[in-house]
Symmetry: C2
Subunit: 654 residues, 2 copies
């Protein structure tokens, strides 16, 4: 008997997805604000076409108008205090931003620049005098501003910025100066056209040139539509994408602002020029100020997850209707999604997108709790910063990879602008390097792990980190990275005792988690040992040691984040009542876990945690999971409830 | 003693690159035509900026002008016979195309459409009457045309095209008809604006509807600047990139062309309507016609290699001047290229680019020999088709990956259009799916391997292939895939006897080649066994079996191609006299080989060819090679001799 059975056997019952229930689960507590954003997206859906048809300048103006229009609906001000016209709900502001990522990403980034970076800096770094003066007009979009941190010569290493703010006690003013072209502010969103104010990050210098490190100042850069005296602005010009956002460069030539222009939540300068700060260590002060950036990272990560969804929704729906080559004479050409390779290309990305969605839920909740004062201690803040950095890195790389794979999976039609991928790919590309370069962010994650979020953690640069770790006894490191304790726990928990890694079921979440946790802790101890050995035994310079160990540093951060993502997914599942949806999500969770292990199976074999037979079994199981998910794949992308206007793609799914 | 030694020790002497000599080696026998193209590129370098500043229509017109202007220099006609005004040198035409890929890729693709696809079809599928009538004006660019194969409903599966050409014996004309929107020609370069003629692929129907399969016809689609009667053309509109090329859709409504419009090199229809062909099997005939497309694939592969070079040259030079974070107090901030992770990101891509360059040399030479009649037997043609398909797939995926990694390695500046990556990324994106989707191409490679290029090879669709393999005795398959014979040979060749895979030096090219060959042959036997087992033992439908085994099919093709690439590099090295340049290329070859093994080290461990210790040793060796290549990295990209005008990037390397 010849069977054409695509579905697997052995008693497994294929779940039927309840799409509305799944959407409700995914939208979660922020269903209301997400609904508002979806409505706004549909109302202004034409922007996706206008991004192509309007000229360079016209499109920038149109995006600005849209942002102001959306602001009037309350969508963009959720994160600000109610007393200034905001929504007073940080979590909701992130959820709104995430949902907005279904649409044109210039609109998204313009919103991020205006309300997240610029408005966020005023809110987080400023005090009441700044809030009262600016926030109402910022929230309405009437007062546009920019966040002038990055310089041409310094992106990631913000501590080394060149712009100087010298205090002149006589006039009680700060004098802002750009000492050279490497210190010009660069890539600054809203700078080229729309910003009237800039929050400028500069080295604060007091009498006699004593530097207090980087601080933020409110500086008018346009007055009555003209560039302010002493300010020079240059347009960054056309970019790969996001051409609805006006990025530019700014130079300051002795621009004077009043003493009150210093955003003085963490430090202040008295009229006489005396510096005071509630935070003693200059490094700690700097990183505390920088810590307020965390909201931007959480936003970008969430936006990246939803941009991935748009690509996957199109590619999955296309693959479920497009036929290519004959499978057998009776059936005619075979659907793309019935090809094993096509399943392998798309469905693990679908699983990773779901996993990252739930991981984003966790980091958004943490952010909300810290910034709403629900749980705002030092440890919580540090863990949030680390988690936000790591989630942003994973989610944005995932978006780049997913959008690329989906474009290729749609062939030539995927290349036409009308079919959405062109803008999606070009606009999202910068996500991996803005709001923190992903590699630098993963180093931040690793630093937290290596120092166990020590109080000194935030103060340390990479050399400080090497010296810190080198100063620990090896035993301390190993104690902290508790791989051996973990093994004891696992032994008790999983079937198979000492052979848990060979006996436990591949689909046992405890096994999957134990594997990811073992990898993380083993890698962490390894990095610590390498750092110590390099500096102590081989007497190599800490900078050189760091350079040599850097790929391991990045790897451990990634391993840590993947473990957190799986935990987020597993926790979500555990909390669900039994249902077909739970079964469906269980398949996705298994697929996420096993493809994550599979991708690094060489490491697991190298470290004795995977036999050859089991490694091959994982690959077979992944293929089996793909076949099980295939019949519900379209339902699973439909559950994201992306307005069809956002998918466009008449040639693919129209 | 604290050393800051970046360079490794143990007697290794760092080579000094002789850049001009290396350029000469790379340019090879086609230095002259490459020099002409470089000159033309520099003369019209402004097109890189005009691509941004000109409007949609203006840019298309400008690209057309450029193509015609370049044609007048002889650069684009090298592949045509001298009697019609061409250069009579197929290899040189590919070399010219490759070099052109340093510049704007719309110009490149317009050249490919006009002279490669359209002109190539006339030359390869037509006979003297077509050559005389068209080639002189095609070569000069006076007569623009298009290659109308792909339809909305059928891209990869060309055999199932819907367009029909019915022979009307009474009028001695073919009637070309588009039966529905799925059969409209789509994504056709030159169609939206400039083409006067189209080479249309259509199902040839003779009296009573008998179909003879897909054939090509010359059809006028514009007359005196107007769309011809019965023809409908629609603009494909804006694309992700390549907006200097006017892609469009074409419908035919009973368009009549004379009997002589059939490109009749392989088949003809007599005035009375009798069909004749020198090739008996309809399938074979079809694939023979399709085989003439091989030139396009070789061209795109070579173009992709050179597009990768542009990205790598920028990112490498940038990394050698950009500093970030302090390494130690004395040295100030550290150069990006001195970071271990940054070396890991860029230098393996550099090695793979060099490797693909030499692999491209081999396939270009094969193409030249086959198409110049120097070595034109059936076996040579089949091997060329397979090699062209595989090289194109590897090179274009490499380009996508390399350009992405290089953009990220240049941070925010890499996102500005002026810094080259925007166009490079958007324009090259389609390379992975046009001129044959990469996955489909790799299946073609696998089919050749599985059938050992049997005479039936070209006739087979995927089901035919499954049936063919299923029909073989397992022993035959294993005999053909000579893994066991290979092992005997290796034992004799390499130190260590039976333990060659543990004893041979990692940097021994024979070891590296043996590893890649073993993988390929083992995978091949595995695929054959899986196909047989599925159909014979498990009685599953061949289509389903194919779907399940498809990822292995793709994997074996990739393994085969990687082995060929390493062989090409190793052969090149072997032929070089001793010199520092040979040492430098040797480092790159080792880095290519070991990163290739490293990337699939899980497979090698799973199949008993790599111990855990040795696997880790390979990763260490890769890092060591990166450190050795780091001091010569800039020289190695300079040797590509990319005109600095093509790199642009004032913010990065200006």
């Amino acid at each position: 008997m010849v069977t054409n059975a695509a579905a697997p056997s052995n008693g497994y019952v294929q779940p039927e997805v309840d799409i509305p229930a799944l959407t409700e689960l995914l939208d979660g507590e922020y269903a209301e604000i997400r609904a508002l954003v979806r409505t706004n997206l549909v109302t202004y859906a034409s922007v996706l076409e206008e991004a192509e048809s309007l000229g360079f300048d016209e499109f920038r103006e149109w995006v600005r108008e849209l942002v102001v229009t959306m602001a009037a609906t309350g969508q963009t001000g959720m994160g600000f205090p109610e007393e200034y016209g905001g929504g007073g709900d940080v979590g909701a502001s992130i959820a709104a931003f995430e949902t907005l990522a279904f649409g044109d990403l210039s609109v998204l980034v313009k919103v991020g620049v205006q309300f997240g970076l610029f408005g966020g800096a005023l809110l987080q770094l400023g005090t009441e005098r700044h809030h009262k003066a600016y926030l109402p007009d910022v929230i309405s979009g009437k007062l546009m501003g920019c966040f002038a941190m990055t310089e041409t010569g310094h992106g990631s290493n913000v501590q080394a910025l060149g712009t100087v703010a010298t205090y002149d006690a006589e006039s009680q003013e700060f004098v802002i100066t750009t000492p050279g072209d490497q210190a010009r502010k660069d890539y600054i969103g809203n700078a080229a056209r729309h910003a009237r104010l800039a929050v400028v990050f500069a080295q604060l210098e007091l009498d006699g040139g004593r530097s207090e490190g980087v601080h933020a100042f409110v500086v008018p850069i346009r007055v009555d539509g003209e560039v302010a005296p002493g300010v020079r602005i240059e347009d960054d010009g056309r970019k790969m994408g996001l051409n609805g956002v006006d990025n530019g460069r700014i130079w300051f030539d002795g621009v004077r602002v009043p003493r009150e222009a210093l955003l003085n939540r963490f430090a202040d300068v008295s009229p006489e020029g005396t510096y005071t700060s509630s935070i003693e260590s200059p490094n700690r002060r700097f990183f505390t100020m920088l810590g307020t950036l965390v909201q931007g990272r959480v936003s970008v990560g969430g936006g990246a997850v939803n941009a991935s969804k748009v690509a996957l929704a199109i590619a999955t729906k296309y693959a479920a209707r497009r036929r290519q080559f004959e499978a057998d004479a009776e059936a005619g050409e075979q659907l793309l999604l019935d090809y094993g390779m096509h399943q392998r290309r798309l469905l693990p990305l679908l699983a990773h997108t779901y996993a990252l969605h739930f991981a984003q839920d966790v980091v958004r909740t943490q952010l909300h709790e810290v910034f709403s004062g629900i749980k705002d201690d030092e440890q919580a803040r540090r863990e949030l910063e680390s988690r936000a950095a790591g989630t942003k890195a994973l989610a944005t790389w995932h978006a780049t990879r997913t959008i690329q794979e989906c474009r290729e999976a749609c062939g030539g039609a995927g290349y036409l602008a009308v079919n959405r991928f062109a803008a999606l790919k070009a606009d999202s590309d910068i996500f991996t390097t803005f709001e923190g370069d992903n590699h630098v962010l993963l180093q931040l994650v690793a630093k937290g792990l290596l120092t166990h979020y020590a109080s000194e953690f935030e103060d340390m640069d990479q050399l400080g980190m090497v010296r810190f770790v080198t100063g620990l006894a090896v035993e301390t490191v190993i104690e902290r990275t508790s791989a051996h304790k973990l093994l004891e726990r696992v032994r008790d928990l999983l079937p198979g005792g000492d052979d848990w890694d060979q006996e436990a079921g591949l689909l046992d979440t405890r096994y999957q988690l134990a594997m990811l946790r073992y990898r993380e802790e083993h890698m962490l101890a390894g990095v610590a040992r390498r750092l110590k050995r390099g500096v102590e035994d081989q007497k190599v310079h800490p900078g050189t040691v760091f350079s040599r160990v850097q790929d391991h540093v990045i790897a451990v951060a990634r391993a840590h984040m993947e473990r957190l993502v799986l935990e987020a997914f597993a926790d979500k599942l555990r909390a669900m009542p039994d249902s077909d949806n739970k079964v469906a999500l269980g398949l996705l969770c298994d697929l996420f876990a096993l493809t994550t292990i599979e991708a690094d199976r060489a490491w697991f074999m190298e470290h004795g945690r995977l036999t050859v037979q089991r490694s091959k079994a994982i690959s077979r199981e992944v293929n089996d999971l793909c076949r099980k998910i295939r019949p519900i794949a379209v339902d699973l992308v439909d559950a994201w409830d992306i307005p069809s206007e956002m998918l466009r793609s008449p040639d693919l799914i129209g």
